[in-house]
Symmetry: C2
Subunit: 338 residues, 2 copies
């Protein structure tokens, strides 16, 4: 994996052969983005299977269940991680009649399938979403929901890439996304590499540009969507949604159906990860606040569905009321896997 | 003056004997905050008078008019700067019958009077505003409208200090205030020095805490208030006002009457300063974005008066409709000087 904590200043690729090291890399956000950590955790399950000394299927499954717990515990908000790990585990458990090495092969194949599907899903979301983008539009985005946040192509940046590839002249306003600066470091870098025109702004400028009529649509990713359409995403998303509604600007999360969690009724039940205060008080090791200052660092917030114009998925765009539509796209996506 | 670009990491005091150096320090934001740059520019006028080689009153007044132009051009948004410079200039022009040295003395006395008045005004605003703060309240604030932004005591932080001095148990949520980090560097530092409980957050967390019922009142400073009550203040203020309204939280700018500009009918006419992109792309000299990235850096935004609950001034709190009330407090304040 690319070490995303070092981008865009350094481009370092990391390799792992212990799933516990992968778990730590996820926790430290060396890899981040809901779909990317899902696929990464699936491959970590394959590593756990590969390196398990188990000689019986029973022991191997016990090792895999332990690995699944460690991996799922790394980050609580994004549901794709648990979704991918459980999918791999189910695949192994369904094959409990086979020998350990056969299960090891199945687990690796399932991880690879999750990764391959992710790219295809992003291209389908891109095609659906690009229809919302008009020639000349300015798109505001937050955090990084790009190729780096996925296996490739991206969710939000997938829509932006698809619109750009279709020849639409677009401009992207990129929130820097404090504290981790995914916008400044990752989204700006991806867009510059693609030659898509963009302007970097601080998060608190987004409302100003909306109020001046300079934003046509807001596109964000998501870490979990509840059954009622409430959206957990990177801290700051809720504010953008309120500001978009106030200024009559459409607001669309772009999410693979694996991000939809029908077991969570509403956003208030989504666990919000609190991260290290040092992410706020230090930037690249440099202190920016008085020593000993008290800090809050919630990594995500919840946008109630009343602020959401529509949700772009690989199975199409879901509009309110979200309850039925989300169930439909989720069932449709899962029917392929059956 | 304290070099505010170095706080809280270094505490360096600067001294000047050329008004042009003071102008540069204002431009570089070594001193910032609408009332503070007003008082600073007034003393810069005194320096200009002191060091002018003029032997006639006519020449001295010409030199002062030139200094006034240089000083007013440094920062376009905050009106206190122009207000203070023009007040000093008027004092000199009204005394055109006197000898140059007498005018030099008058100019210095007027600058000192502006500085002395500022502290008294802040204490009066503090007393008015503190009545809005209840025991147990959490106050959200943005940027630095503290002792550092004024001659002493502060506008917004004056209200907070007054509530704290009255024994109310309060907590302050401090927006870090990108790009210049006045909240993280200056407001956090001031509050910690006073022992007022506080939590530092990134700007994009403010909406999240409002939506969770964790904010009781929003207090901000202002750089200019138009005749209709529209408020220009540090970038990000507009977003806070919209989010406060959406969540039923009162939103009060705290402004001396010198910040009210009755010659500007509405906020759209207030000039918004665009600052160096490097403030966004670098933090304390460290790059945080890809080299060559395109950046916008508006230093202020405008909050339409429909989001403003009330405006706290030294002459009392003005409520909507603002047109009449702002004129009344402005006239009342100016009647003392007559």
């Amino acid at each position: 994996m690319i070490d995303q904590t070092l981008l865009p200043h350094e481009h370092v690729t990391l390799a792992f052969d212990d799933y516990r090291e992968v778990a730590r890399a996820i926790k430290e956000m060396r890899v981040r983005g809901a779909p990317a950590i899902g696929a990464t955790a699936a491959f970590a399950m394959a590593l756990a299977a590969q390196h398990s000394p188990a000689r019986t299927t029973e022991h191997l499954l016990a090792d895999l269940r332990e690995a699944a717990e460690v991996l799922i515990a790394t980050r609580p908000t994004a549901v794709n991680l648990a979704w991918a790990v459980r999918r791999v585990l189910r695949r192994a458990e369904a094959a409990r009649d086979l020998a350990p090495d056969a299960i090891r092969a199945l687990v690796l194949a399932e991880a690879q399938r999750i990764a391959d599907e992710d790219v295809a899903i992003n291209k389908r979301m891109g095609a659906h979403g690009a229809r919302l983008i008009r020639d000349g539009d300015t798109i505001l985005t937050h955090c990084n929901a790009g190729a780096l946040a996925t296996v490739d192509y991206g969710t939000t940046l997938g829509v932006i890439r698809a619109a750009h590839e279709a020849g639409k002249r677009i401009h992207v306003l990129v929130d820097e996304t404090r504290p981790f600066l995914q916008g400044a470091r990752l989204t700006a870098w991806e867009l510059m590499q693609e030659g898509i025109p963009m302007t970097l702004i601080t998060d608190n400028m987004a409302g100003h540009f909306m109020s001046r009529g300079r934003v046509n649509i807001v596109l964000v990713g998501a870490d979990r969507v509840a059954a009622n359409g409430d959206v957990a995403n990177k801290i700051g998303t809720y504010s953008l949604a309120v500001l978009a509604k106030e200024n009559g600007i459409p607001f669309y999360p772009v999410v693979p159906t694996s991000t939809i969690d029908l077991e969570i009724a509403a956003g208030d039940d989504i666990p919000i990860e609190e991260r290290d205060p040092r992410e706020v008080t230090h930037i690249r090791g440099v202190p920016i606040a008085p020593s000993g200052v008290h800090v809050a660092n919630p990594a995500f917030d919840v946008t109630p569905h009343r602020y959401v114009t529509g949700i772009i998925t690989e199975e199409g765009i879901v509009y309110p009321p979200f309850g039925l539509g989300l169930r439909q796209v989720k069932e449709k996506a899962e029917s392929y896997g059956a």
